[in-house]
Amino acid sequence: MDGSKMQELRELVEFLKANEIAEFDMEQADLKVRIKFAGDPAAAASSFDLAQLSRLMASAPAAGAAPVAAAAAHTAAAPAQAEEKLHEVKSPIVGTFYESPAPGASAFVQIGDQVEVGQVLCIVEAMKLMNEIESDVAGEVVKRIGVSGQPVEYGQPLFAIRPR
């Protein structure tokens, strides 16, 4: 998210706060923003088009003391936050995550390892079957999100990889 987008977002939040809007969903190409104001009163949702709204916002004054306690905004788009563009390898099944092929054995991959497409990263056990999860990208393992022995849902991120 570049500086001008951030500025737009700031203005958007001001605008929403000033208008006492409780929930806000926005999508534009690869950017998604979901904003929900905490505090009391809450809720009520509406949808806008960012392209228009960001232009509209330019002139929005930060008026109105809305009864809003706090504001939170995050981009829900696949590739991470304000950070660099990382690729997440997600679990294709429900099951239990294991970082190594057997108890006591060393992990399939370590943080900092370079991995290739098709290289086994971990196991997700489902119905007593050990399913090897392969990387769908070549690059450097930046983060292991799954925790050995812990359950994972369908679609849950397991590894963050910096593609090369």
């Binding site: 429900v94 239990t96 489902a126 119905m127 359950p151 849902e153 369908y154």
Partner: protein, 451 residues
């Protein structure tokens, strides 16, 4: 009782089971597809696990995914709801192998009742009246005449390999039978490469009537009376009632006894439904058995005061029927259910999308079972039913009037629903008279077109 139950379903029935579990102090685990992330069954369960993408085949029907979810959540039992995996004997077997209690009958019984001809034979043996017909293929014109004589006219000839009306003939007397037999056989041979025919008694204007039962694992069976489900469109039920105006207390008791005996014989347990056709003379014929909770179970709950989903849970936990239903079953008043579908009320095209306003009716005698809400999404991947509106009254008249009142207060905006269709049905003279059959909707829609 179970400590923790996984609900392998979505929508209103998932929420129904979650509610029953909550009231019994059982922890609940919802499973959901990516399309149902914001559904109420996910929100109101104690835990929720995403098991796959939107398509049912890859999520709600995905046996390994459901079982894995049950294992990582460490549940004691799985409630399958209706549809989806509820009558899948293989799934019940995998549950058994995984040491998870399947809340339903043993897989052997599910399998037996799932095979229509086996079910028919089983019921016939237990002296449940079945639709008369030839016991298999008819070899000749002569045999056809003999069968027709014993079954009684009118009869219907059907192609063994058939479907879609081809190789099918309705015969009303012995004179026309030979000719029709040969026509049907030739047609069947041409269409399916197989001219074999069988025969069934033909019921001109059948009613669909079904009996609700409860059976425990200790051989005890109980009938909870019947439901009238003749208001159907393309074999999909739209409106159900309990009791049926056609079933006298005497017939209810007799059939109850026969059903009881038949299920004791086959070792059935769980809630279950025995479906019958009733002919114009009030004679009743077994057609099939459903080995799960049904959509329309609520009307039975309203008139008997018995919670059927709780009963399922307690049966599966090994309790005896006499500790679950402690007083004699008694029918109080009349209950009617309307299935509210996300469909165009005239064209019946599905109407997925975002619900922008959702006001459910309440007040005396009104029950709404739904997992929808204002701002909720109706995904295009699943069944179109978004709510069940059930009204109870001291008699059918009051229940109908209450339904009209409740329908007028049920506001859904953003999508189309069948609410306006139901409003018209409840204003229809034939419907109100109670004198209808499974062909009602054809006639009704015809009348609507003319009007």
């Amino acid at each position: 009782m179970f400590r923790k139950v996984l609900i392998a379903n979505r929508g209103e029935i998932a929420l129904r089971v979650i509610s029953a579990c909550k009231e019994m102090g059982i922890r609940t685990v919802a499973v959901y597809s990516e399309a149902d992330r914001n559904s109420l069954h996910v929100k109101f369960a104690d835990e929720a696990i995403c098991i796959g993408p939107p398509r049912s085949a890859e999520s709600y029907l995905n046996v390994p995914a459901v079982i894995s979810a049950a294992e990582i959540a460490d549940v004691d039992a799985i409630h399958p709801g209706y549809g989806l995996l509820s009558e899948n004997a293989n799934f019940a077997e995998v549950c058994r192998a995984s040491n998870i209690k399947f809340i339903g009958p043993p897989p052997e019984v599910t399998r037996m009742m799932g095979e229509k001809s086996t079910a028919r034979q089983t019921m016939k043996k237990a002296k449940v009246p079945i639709l008369p017909g030839s016991d298999g293929i008819i070899a000749s014109e002569g045999e056809a005449l003999e069968w027709a004589k014993s079954v009684g006219y009118p009869v219907i000839l059907k192609a063994v390999a058939g479907g879609g009306g081809r190789g099918m003939r309705i015969c009303r007397n012995a004179a026309e039978l030979p000719g029709l037999y040969n026509q049907a056989s030739t047609e069947a041979a041409a269409a399916f490469g197989n001219g074999d025919l069988y025969m069934e008694k033909f019921i001109e204007r059948p009613r669909h009537i079904e009996f609700q039962v409860l059976a425990d694992e200790h051989g005890n069976v109980m009938s909870l009376g019947e439901r009238e489900c003749s208001i159907q469109r393309r074999h999909q039920k739209l409106i159900e009632e309990a009791p049926s105006l056609q079933i006298t207390p005497k017939l209810r008791e007799e059939l109850g006894k026969t059903i009881k005996k038949s299920l004791e014989n086959i070792g059935y347990w769980n809630a279950g439904t025995i479906e019958f056709l009733m002919d114009e003379d009030g004679k009743i014929y077994f057609i099939e058995m459903n080995t799960r909770i049904q959509v329309e179970h609520c009307v039975t709950e309203m008139v008997t005061g018995i919670d059927l989903v709780k009963a399922q849970l307690r049966i599966a936990a090994g309790e005896k029927l006499n500790s679950i239903v402690t007083s004699p079953v008694e029918i109080r008043g009349h209950a009617i259910e309307c299935r509210i579908n996300a469909e165009h009320p005239e064209k019946f095209t599905p109407s997925a999308g975002k619900i922008t306003a959702f006001n459910v009716p309440g007040g005396n005698g009104v029950r709404v079972d739904t997992a929808q809400y204002s701002e909720g999404i109706v995904p295009p991947y699943y069944d179109s039913m978004i709510a069940k509106l059930i009204c109870h009254g001291k008699d059918r008249e009051e229940a109908m009037n209450r339904m009209q009142r409740a329908l007028s207060q049920f506001v859904v905006q953003g999508i189309h629903t069948t609410i306006p269709l139901h409003q018209k049905i409840f204003a229809d003279e034939e419907f109100r008279s109670g004198k209808f059959d499974t062909k009602f909707m054809e006639r009704f829609l015809e009348r609507q077109k003319e009007a």
